[in-house]
């Protein structure tokens, strides 16, 4: 198990390197650092202020290899970026100049408070509904359920949010429509509506996917065997099919679990929750490239952690698979 984990981590290194090269290509080759500086400093920036800005952040170094005599060849943007990534140094924001590691740490808590409950509630609801649709399979109810889930996933996510905010929060005044506070029950009041909106937004596609997975299981031989030995259809579904279907579900779900830290862009922005999603939206609006770049690294690291965790979970729940 331990040696497997080590190998898994080593496997992630070249991929992370690829991500680094990809983002480097985007942010330093496709786009020139001067353009970036001009974007941040505004139209009135003089050549001096731009040069100063670039120098302060080390963006005025040669791009790949430093050919200047007397300087080490690795004193370039590429190698600096590489070194920063290797030491988990996320750098500072291009706009506010704040240390990104602190910024991300601060944003992670509100994001997790939002996405974690939404994930668990959403998962349980979707599995329950999918199982019910499988229970009534090939009836009108099942067909209607499938149609409703397709309809739910065909609505743009903003519509749910706009509706939730305008109608439920503002018109009926059930929930606060905007804002966030980190203090016990008040936090709960602020989170209830956003969390339920995330649940509703994901419900359609999740129910549809899980239903397909469970339907696949229903066709397996072990189901027929269980039916033949007289297992009731409720027990068959809730014990046999659920347990086996979970193996497929876990591989789908666990990979995305670490990414919950990144929060939800739209929801956080609409409701003014100071999480990582909101941070990214404001980074987009202010052309804060360092923050976007750091988010890309962080996102891919989290995703790779999720993939490794998926493999481990897979081995834990499925005795047929051994990690060696």
């Amino acid at each position: 198990m331990f040696s497997y984990l080590i190998r898994r981590i080593l496997y992630a290194v070249p991929i992370l390197l690829g991500v680094m090269v990809l983002t480097f290509f985007l942010f330093f080759v496709v786009q020139k650092p001067e353009t970036m500086a001009r974007n941040v400093l505004g139209k009135r920036a003089t050549p001096q202020t731009i040069a100063e800005y670039l120098h302060k952040r080390g963006y005025d170094k040669p791009r790949f290899i430093n050919r200047e005599p007397g300087q080490p060849f690795y004193d370039s943007i590429f190698f600096t970026q590489l070194q920063k990534l290797a030491t988990f140094d996320l750098g500072v924001s291009d706009v506010t100049g704040r240390d990104l590691k602190t910024v991300f740490k601060e944003g992670a808590i509100p994001s997790l408070l939002l996405t974690l409950p939404a994930f668990f509630v959403g998962f349980i609801m979707a599995v329950g509904l999918a199982l019910y649709l499988v229970f009534v399979r090939e009836t009108r109810l099942d067909a209607a359920g499938a149609l409703v889930s397709i309809a739910l996933m065909s609505v743009p996510p903003m519509i749910y949010i706009i509706f939730g905010q305008a109608v439920i929060a503002l018109t009926f005044n059930y929930f606060p429509a905007f804002g966030f506070e980190l203090s016990g029950l008040t936090t709960l009041k602020f989170l209830l509506l956003p969390v339920s909106l995330i649940v509703v937004m994901g419900l359609g596609s999740d129910v549809r996917l899980y239903r397909a997975i469970f339907l696949e299981e229903i066709g397996q031989d072990y189901v027929r065997t269980a039916q033949a030995k007289g297992v009731s259809s409720t027990r068959l579904l809730l014990v046999h099919v659920l347990k086996n279907g979970m193996i497929a579900l876990i591989t789908l779900v666990v990979a995305h679990l670490p990414l919950l830290v990144m929060g939800s862009l739209l929801i956080e922005n609409f409701f003014g929750i100071p999480g990582l999603g909101n941070l990214l939206v404001s980074a987009i609006q202010t052309s804060d490239f360092a923050t976007v770049r750091a988010s890309v690294y962080l996102g891919s690291i989290l995703y790779l952690i999720g993939l490794a965790a998926t493999d481990v979970c897979y081995a834990l729940v499925d005795p047929r698979i051994r990690l060696s």
Partner: protein, 336 residues
């Protein structure tokens, strides 16, 4: 480069080229026995036929809005020509209202508007219809990027395996490891904002899923006796790929294209909301929905732009999803 694409005849030619290519693919596909069987099944599938017809209407409207001709010192699209007599007002007006939307100083309108007008006084109904063009162009360009890329790389990886497969797998693992929305945003903010950039970004992230799917299916197919037979007959790799493997994975490409299209239309709305989508001034559902943020807090509430855009977008995405599902059922060998 952009000057070339700004020319009238180039845009019109591209439109016909796109539709021609799509028609050619369908016609060549329909020679395949599996496609004929699926076609017969699809004809009996009422949901599939209705949703297919609705998609065709959207595409036709989008094409007519893209097709432009010279008109009175400028150019006008076919749809624009139909709406040429619809007057432009000064600001918002409610559906079928006689005055502009204002509690203190309502001005008389130049005409009646079925769904009201937007902030710039443009007719909401016309704008909603014209937005089909944005959806069509975005879907068309993006698919033109990611479908050939994903299909080709998937087949190459699945057929040659070994180091070719290793390289392709590495590349798509890298792209897939970045959360999609982050990569989209990163690509769009370093390039110039616009429909073309959005297509490039969505194409860059979109090919991964298709490539993975085609790779798996190609691996399965190349184990089959017909590929071994083609090899034994001494056919070249290229011929095996184009004549034997490609026709047998094309149905997956078609299903992926239809379902992917619905994702693209939704992505346009989300990206526009995040400020990296359609440029201001284009007729797009994303912009109309984005505008609702300020419109809903006005007094009286401006609800018609949001409602019109939502229904138009929902109609297209729902039809695409339902049609994609119908296609999947039609091509499923295990059905019935």
């Amino acid at each position: 480069m952009s000057g070339f694409f700004d020319q009238l005849w180039v845009q019109n030619a591209l439109l016909f080229l796109g539709f021609g290519l799509f028609a050619a693919l369908i016609v060549s596909g329909s020679r395949n026995e599996r496609w004929q069987r699926a076609g017969r099944y699809l004809r009996g599938d009422r949901t599939g036929m209705v949703s297919g017809a609705i998609i065709a209407i959207y595409l036709l409207v989008g094409a007519l809005e893209t097709l432009q001709f010279p008109y009175q010192n400028g150019t006008v699209s076919v749809i624009g020509w139909f709406f040429r007599n619809v007057p432009i007002e000064s600001t918002y007006s409610a559906p079928l209202a006689a005055t502009t939307l204002s509690t203190s100083d309502p001005q008389p309108l130049k005409g009646r508007h079925l769904l009201g007008t937007d902030a710039l006084g443009k007719d909401t109904f016309a704008q909603t219809i014209r937005a089909c063009r944005t959806a069509l162009i975005l879907g068309g360009f993006t698919s033109a990027i990611y479908i050939p890329l994903g299909t080709l790389l998937g087949i190459l990886a699945g057929y040659y395996r070994r180091w070719v497969d290793d390289i392709i797998q590495y590349v798509y693992s890298v792209v897939a490891s970045v959360p999609e929305i982050l990569l989209l945003v990163a690509i769009i903010i370093v390039l110039e904002k616009g429909l073309g950039t959005m297509s490039i970004a969505l194409g860059t992230t979109g090919w991964v899923g298709l490539c993975r799917l085609i790779r798996g299916e190609t691996m399965r197919q190349s184990e089959r006796p017909y590929v071994a037979a083609a090899r034994a007959l001494g056919q070249s790799h290229w011929r095996i790929i184009t004549r034997h493997l490609l026709p047998n994975v094309m149905h997956l490409v078609l299903i992926n294209f239809v379902l992917g299209f619905s994702g693209l239309v939704l992505a346009e709305a989300t990206l526009t909301y995040l400020g990296v989508g359609s440029p201001i001034g284009t007729a797009s559902w994303g912009i109309m929905i984005d505008g609702a943020r300020s419109e809903l807090s006005r007094e009286p509430v401006v609800w018609w732009n949001l409602t019109a855009a939502t229904f138009a977008l929902f109609g297209l995405v729902l039809s695409l999803n339902l049609f994609g599902d119908a296609l999947r059922r039609a091509f499923d060998p295990k059905r019935g």
